[in-house]
Structures are given as structure tokens and as C-alpha cells.
């Protein structure tokens, strides 16, 4: 290289170096500028997506593992506004195939476009069968592949996007609907176990940021699904009880029917139903079916005056205190004055000398009012409360009623005539309440309370807490729920005496509740219903109920039946008792319970 050219090279090198330094200098200032910070912030925002992972809702099974509530794939139909070619065609296709309103869809698309939106939802919770119609909309083209987010194979409908997601589904439709409750589109449980165990079933959604940069991808967190529940319900028994009640309503013309079947040793509810029932897959019908007069589950949510079925509580209290025995004789004159009112028997007749067993067998109001007088208000209400009346039983179903029990010294009850709030009067507890309460009038209980109280006669005086959930499956483990006990209102001796009395009284009166081959115990209850407008009891409007169990020597089931306002007869012995027998007749087959003689013979072998 000639030496005289060196300065030129040096000048060029200095020039390049200057340019390079200028670029570096500029780059440094751009990196540190507020705009750069803003761009960095934006890039950070676009480098990851915010996502909420909703765990699938836990399933609900019956005691034998049959699915009662699961999850089904449904679709959200949306529209990508950028790809919309013909809004009318989209509206037409959706109204024809999916059943959405043509004008509504068209207006929605126009509104989305006017708002400058990128994507809009046109419909949701669409069943897969309807999506299949859309996928094969154009008969000249092959159907759109399953799994594709595009709804349709028609190019005009390319803007329609179908996104699958899970929604609650009830394979048994209206079976056990009063117990299960339902889940609405906002994922909230309503009524029954769906609402009672909402948090457990729904699980906990987790918010996460998913990086869009594949180099930074991380495993998605394993969000545990909602817990699954195993109910104590037996699907076959539940279906049978619902069938029997439907037949009973048709036969007796009753306004409603309610039944509970329970394992009286453990408190496990094998079946529970009341009318009307709801197809849970079409829960929108709820508002048409239910109102204040038709609660979702009468077995736990509605109170009624139980009538003579309540006499077992009065009698149990008196026996427990030693005031009477089954052989104690009472001379029934057909009328008993107490607290300023006259108490009469159901047929208005005098029954003469009767043992306590006879009093229960013939369901004599006069006798039981007299027993109540012997007990006195303090003891009587002590036993009533000890048997759990006036308190929820603790059954794991949403919205359990407590019943209505007025005690001496309680604040007055406001009783209004009809819906007229101006025409109300205060009702205080008086002695006459004691007299009527002894045979189950003037107080109100839930069927569940009645059943719970009766379990004391089976479990040596100890009441079992009824429950609906047998086990919880969470994080791959099953947690079984053991029986729990509510209290011991009476002694074991009293319980055995009561059980024998109720079995004998049923046998001696040749009740329609009897089932050949099986020794059963139970009690009927007929209660007049007060007119809501006048408050006066209407002798032709009754609640008829029956609670019983069997086999008496080794109880396997307890069955409660309540018919509201039967038309064919006002008496429980002619309406509710045969329904009890119908249920038990089929129940013993489903539960593999041989007739007593065969069972005892087999046990002795």
C-alpha cells in the first residue's frame, strides 16, 4: 500500500467509525426513551395471554355409581366480523338450523359492526346435534370436520365460529330433580345438592398468563376439577317411588305427593321426591312450574300440620317419663275439654275403655290430649324440641325449613286473613295449643323432621341425622361420610316399647299399609287444613301422611308418604297407607329383603 494513500484510508475509516458511533448513540437514546418503554410494555402485554381455567364441575352419582349429573359439550356460536360477507345468510342459517330468532341475529351482527367489534357472540349452549346441521349446511360440499372452530362448510358462513365448552347435563332428566337441583348458565347451582355443595362441585377457577412465545412456554397448571359427589340415593328405588307417587296422585286426585325412603340406621336417604318434578335439562320451565304454593322440594322445604302421625311424639314422651305404659287404660268419653276448647275424636265417637295401644291404634285425639295434660306443657314441649321439631334436621340440602312451633311465652304469631296485611291478628300460645299439638294440629313440621324424629324408635332412642351425600371424590381420593347422630330424646327402653306399639297397632287394625310376609310398624296422620282466607279448618281438605318402617326386628328402611288434599278420601288410612304398602312391596324386592319367615330361617342356618 503506497504510503501517500494512507490518509485517505484513515479518513474513510474515521468516517465509518463516526457513523457507527452515531448509530450506537442513537440506538442507546431510543432504547432509553419513554416511547421505547411504552413499546416494551405493549410487547410484554402481547407476549402472553390472560386465561382463566375453569375446572369442570364435579359429577353427581347415585350410591351405585350411576351418573345423575354430568357435563356435556355444548357450543358457543360467535361471528368474526371481519369475515362477514352476508349477514342475512348467517341469520337465515342460524334461525333454520339452530332455532335462533332471525331478526335478533341480524340486529346483533349490525350492532357488532357498528361498534367496530372484532368478534361477537350470537348464541350459546347450543347442542351438538344442531351444530352438526350447520357443519353439513351446504349439501354440495363435504361437511366441516369435527374439531374445527368454523361452524359451517358453506363459504358464506365462514365467519361463524363454534367454540365447544362443557355445560351441566342430567341424564336421568326429572329423576330425583327435587334432590339434585340444577345449574344455570352462570354456573351457579340452584336448590338441592347443586346449591348446597356449590363451592365443592364448582372447584376453584385459576387465572394464569400463557406466554405466546413458544420459547417461554410452560406447562399449564393442573387445576383440580370440582369434587364429585356420591349420593345416598339409589336410582332404582328413586324411580320406583316416583312411579308409585305418580300413580297415587292419579288414583287419589291429590294436589301433590311427597315421599322419603331412608335407611333408619345410618340416616342415608335412599329416595326423596315430591311433585311437581322438573326436567333438569329444561330448567327454564322452573318459573312456570314452581311458585310459593309449589316449593322445589316439599320434603325439606314445606311445612304442614302433621296430624295424628305426631301422636307418636306425645306417647313417647309420656312413656319415657313413666306416666303411662302400653297397658294403661283410658276411658274415652268422646270429648275432652282443655284450655277452653273441646277436643273430639276423628269420628266424633266415644271409644270407651282403651289401652294406650288402643289409643294409638284407633288414633284417638281425646286420649292423646289427655296424655298431653298428664305430661304438662313443660314436659311436652321439652320432648317436642328434643325430637328436633322447630329446628332444621341438618340434612345436606339447600333451604331446609325449620317448621313452626309456638312455645309457652313465645312472642305472638301474626296471623293474617288471606293476603290482606291490614287484617292481621296476634296469636299467643295458650293451653288450647297444648291440647291440639298433642295430636299434631296447630304446629307445622317438615316431612324430613317427622322421619328424623321417628328414627329414635329404631336406634335405641337416638336420632340419626339424615344425609344425602355418601361420599366425596376429590383429588383422586374418596372420602366417605359416616352416620351422625342428632340426640337421644328418649331411652332405649321407651324406643323399643314405641316400636312394638306401632307394629302391633298396625297389625291389629288390619291396616292397608300392611305387606304380607313382612312385619311393619307405622302410624297414619290425617290433618285438616286451615282455610288461608278465614283461618278456619276445613274438614274436607286434609293432609294425609304415613310414616313406617320394616322389618320391625331388623329395620332396613323407613318410608314416609304425604298426600296433599286427596279427593277420593280424606283419611290417611285410605290414601297414604296404601301408598306406603305399594312402596314397601316393591322396595323389598329392590333391596333383596326376603319375607320375615324366610329371612329368620336363613339367619338361623
Amino acid at each position: 500500500m503506497p504510503r501517500e494513500h494512507t490518509w485517505r484510508y484513515l479518513t474513510m475509516a474515521a468516517g465509518f467509525a463516526f457513523v457507527a458511533l452515531a448509530i450506537l448513540f442513537r440506538a442507546y437514546f431510543i432504547q432509553g426513551s419513554p416511547e421505547a418503554a411504552e413499546f416494551l410494555k405493549q410487547s410484554e402485554y402481547y407476549s402472553r395471554l390472560f386465561k382463566t381455567i375453569y375446572p369442570p364441575r364435579g359429577e353427581i352419582y347415585d350410591r351405585n355409581g350411576h351418573l345423575l349429573a354430568g357435563n356435556r359439550t355444548v357450543y358457543e356460536i360467535g361471528v368474526e366480523l371481519e369475515s362477514v360477507q352476508d349477514p342475512e345468510a348467517i341469520a337465515f342459517a342460524l334461525s333454520n338450523m339452530v332455532g335462533t330468532d332471525y331478526n335478533e341475529v341480524l340486529q346483533d351482527i349490525k350492532d357488532f359492526i357498528a361498534l367496530g367489534a372484532v368478534y361477537g357472540i350470537l348464541d350459546d349452549y347450543v347442542l351438538p346435534e344442531k351444530i352438526d346441521l350447520l357443519r353439513a349446511y351446504n349439501v354440495n360440499l363435504p361437511p366441516e370436520e369435527e374439531g374445527s372452530y368454523h361452524c359451517s362448510n358453506d363459504p358464506v358462513l365462514i365467519a361463524l365460529i363454534c367454540r365447544p365448552h362443557l355445560a351441566r347435563s342430567y341424564p336421568e332428566r326429572d329423576l330425583a330433580s327435587n334432590v339434585l337441583g340444577f345449574v344455570t348458565q352462570d354456573s351457579n347451582g340452584n336448590f338441592g345438592v347443586e346449591q348446597k355443595y356449590q363451592e365443592l362441585l364448582a372447584g376453584i377457577p385459576e387465572d394464569i398468563w400463557v406466554p405466546t412465545d413458544p420459547n417461554r412456554v410452560q406447562e399449564l397448571p393442573d387445576v383440580p376439577g370440582g369434587a364429585s359427589l356420591i349420593l345416598t340415593i339409589d336410582r332404582e328405588i328413586q324411580a320406583m317411588v316416583e312411579d308409585v307417587l305418580d300413580e297415587a296422585i292419579a288414583r287419589t286426585g291429590s294436589e301433590s305427593a311427597t315421599s322419603i325412603v331412608m335407611d333408619p340406621r345410618t340416616g342415608e336417604i335412599l329416595a326423596m321426591t315430591s311433585t311437581p318434578r322438573l326436567d333438569l335439562n329444561d330448567y327454564q320451565q322452573y318459573v312456570k312450574i314452581y311458585d310459593d304454593n309449589n316449593p322445589f322440594n316439599r320434603a325439606t322445604g314445606e311445612i304442614y300440620e302433621p296430624g295424628s302421625i305426631f301422636k307418636v311424639v306425645t306417647m313417647a314422651g309420656a312413656i319415657d317419663l313413666g306416666l303411662v305404659t302400653p297397658e294403661t287404660v283410658f276411658n274415652d268419653t268422646g270429648i275432652f275439654y282443655y284450655g277452653g276448647i273441646a277436643i273430639r275424636n276423628w269420628n266424633g265417637q266415644a271409644w270407651g275403655e282403651q289401652t294406650m295401644l288402643g289409643c294409638l291404634q284407633h288414633s284417638l285425639n281425646v286420649c292423646l290430649a289427655s296424655v298431653g295434660e298428664k305430661l304438662g306443657a313443660e314436659n311436652f314441649y321439652h320432648y317436642v324440641q328434643a325430637f328436633g321439631f322447630g329446628y332444621p334436621t341438618g340434612v345436606d340440602l339447600f333451604n331446609e325449613a325449620s317448621g313452626q312451633l309456638r312455645l309457652p311465652g313465645d312472642p305472638p304469631l301474626l296471623a293474617c286473613t288471606g293476603e290482606d296485611q291490614d287484617n292481621c291478628r296476634e296469636i299467643y300460645w295458650t293451653d288450647s295449643d297444648l291440647a291440639t299439638n298433642t295430636f299434631g294440629q296447630g304446629l307445622a313440621v317438615t316431612p324430613m323432621q317427622m322421619v328424623t324424629a321417628t328414627t329414635a324408635f329404631i336406634n335405641d332412642g337416638r336420632m340419626v341425622i339424615p344425609h344425602m351425600v355418601k361420599g366425596v371424590v376429590q383429588n383422586g381420593m374418596q372420602y366417605n361420610i359416616p352416620p351422625q347422630y342428632a340426640g337421644t330424646p328418649i331411652s332405649a327402653k321407651t324406643a323399643h316399647t314405641m316400636a312394638e306399639m306401632l307394629a302391633d297397632s298396625l297389625e291389629y287394625e288390619s291396616s292397608l299399609a300392611l305387606v304380607p310376609g313382612y312385619r311393619l310398624a307405622g302410624k297414619t296422620g290425617t290433618a285438616q287444613i286451615p282455610d288461608p282466607n278465614t283461618g278456619v279448618y276445613d274438614p274436607n281438605q286434609t293432609n294425609t301422611s304415613f310414616v313406617g318402617w320394616g322389618p320391625v326386628d331388623d329395620p332396613k328402611f323407613m318410608v314416609f308418604v304425604w298426600l296433599e288434599r286427596p279427593e277420593t278420601s280424606i283419611w290417611a288410612s285410605e290414601t297414604a297407607a296404601p301408598v306406603f304398602a305399594d312402596i314397601v312391596e316393591r322396595l323389598v324386592v329392590l333391596m333383596d329383603i326376603p319375607p320375615d319367615d324366610q329371612r329368620l330361617e336363613m339367619a338361623s342356618q
Binding site: 354430568g70 412456554v217 364429585s228 326376603p594
Partner: protein, 155 residues
């Protein structure tokens, strides 16, 4: 002679083209090394990006499959519902049995239908004493060696 040789070697060492070759070789070497590093980096980055995308895809696939399984399970329950089963039983000529038509037979050792269903292992009973793990799963290496020497010592 020796001196002449040294001069020639010196002259060879100082030839301008040889220096240029050394410089070019050095720069080329640096470039090759940088290119290799870049290639390795690019390769690793591309592979991790592909794997990352695959992970995302598999996660999405897993979610779809879980959803599908759940859907299938519910659809199966629809097919096996009480209503459907009763209809199928009726179509096959079955009728509900009356209690009087049943003959009960005592079967030794038969304990009746199992009570309740187990959808998952019961809590607190995963590894019960009735199903102990083999020693191979619980022994450490030292345990195993100790047992081995103990066995050998026995002979």
C-alpha cells in the same frame, strides 16, 4: 550453508503474502466459530420453539380429550338411564317381579350386594397392611448391599 538456510527461512517468514494469509486465516477462523455458535444457537432455539409449540398443542389436545371423555360419559349415562333401561327391558319381554314370585335361596358366604360404590381409593387406605410394597421398592442401595453381605455371610 547453515547461515544461508537461516536467511531463507527468515525471508520466507517475512514474506507479505504469508502475513496476509495468517490474518485471513485468523479472521476466517473467528467467523467460522461465530457461525458455528450462531448455528447451534439457532438450532437449539428452533427446536425449543417447536417443542414449546408442541407442548401447547398437546395441552390443548388434552383439554379437548378430557372434555370429550366427560361428554361421552354423560352420553353413555343417557343411554343407560332408568327410563331407557326400563324401555329396553320391556321390549325384551321383562316385567317387574312381584314379591310372591321370588324364591330366596341361602347361599353360603354370600354377603349380599356390595354397599356403596368406590369411584376412587378411599382416603387413608391407599397402602394398607394387606398390600405391602415389595422390599425392592423401599430398600436403599445400602440396605440392599447389607442384605447381600448378610446373605453371603450365611454361607
Amino acid at each position: 550453508m547453515l547461515k544461508r538456510s537461516k536467511e531463507l527461512i527468515q525471508a520466507y517468514k517475512e514474506t507479505p503474502w504469508r502475513r496476509q494469509m495468517q490474518m485471513i486465516s485468523f479472521v476466517a477462523g473467528v467467523v467460522v466459530v461465530l457461525a458455528l455458535i450462531a448455528a447451534v444457537y439457532l438450532n437449539i432455539t428452533a427446536r425449543s420453539a417447536t417443542t414449546g409449540r408442541l407442548v401447547q398443542q398437546l395441552q390443548s389436545e388434552r383439554a379437548d380429550l378430557e372434555q370429550h371423555i366427560e361428554d361421552m360419559r354423560t352420553q353413555l349415562a343417557f343411554i343407560l338411564s332408568v327410563e331407557q333401561m326400563q324401555k329396553r327391558a320391556g321390549d325384551l319381554g321383562f316385567k317387574p317381579v312381584a314379591p310372591a314370585a321370588i324364591t330366596y335361596v341361602a347361599v353360603a358366604e354370600y354377603r349380599g350386594r356390595p354397599v356403596g360404590v368406590e369411584l376412587a381409593p378411599r382416603a387413608g387406605r391407599e397402602f394398607g397392611p394387606d398390600a405391602p410394597l415389595p422390599a425392592a421398592y423401599t430398600n436403599s442401595l445400602f440396605d440392599w448391599l447389607a442384605a447381600l453381605f448378610a446373605d453371603l455371610g450365611g454361607y
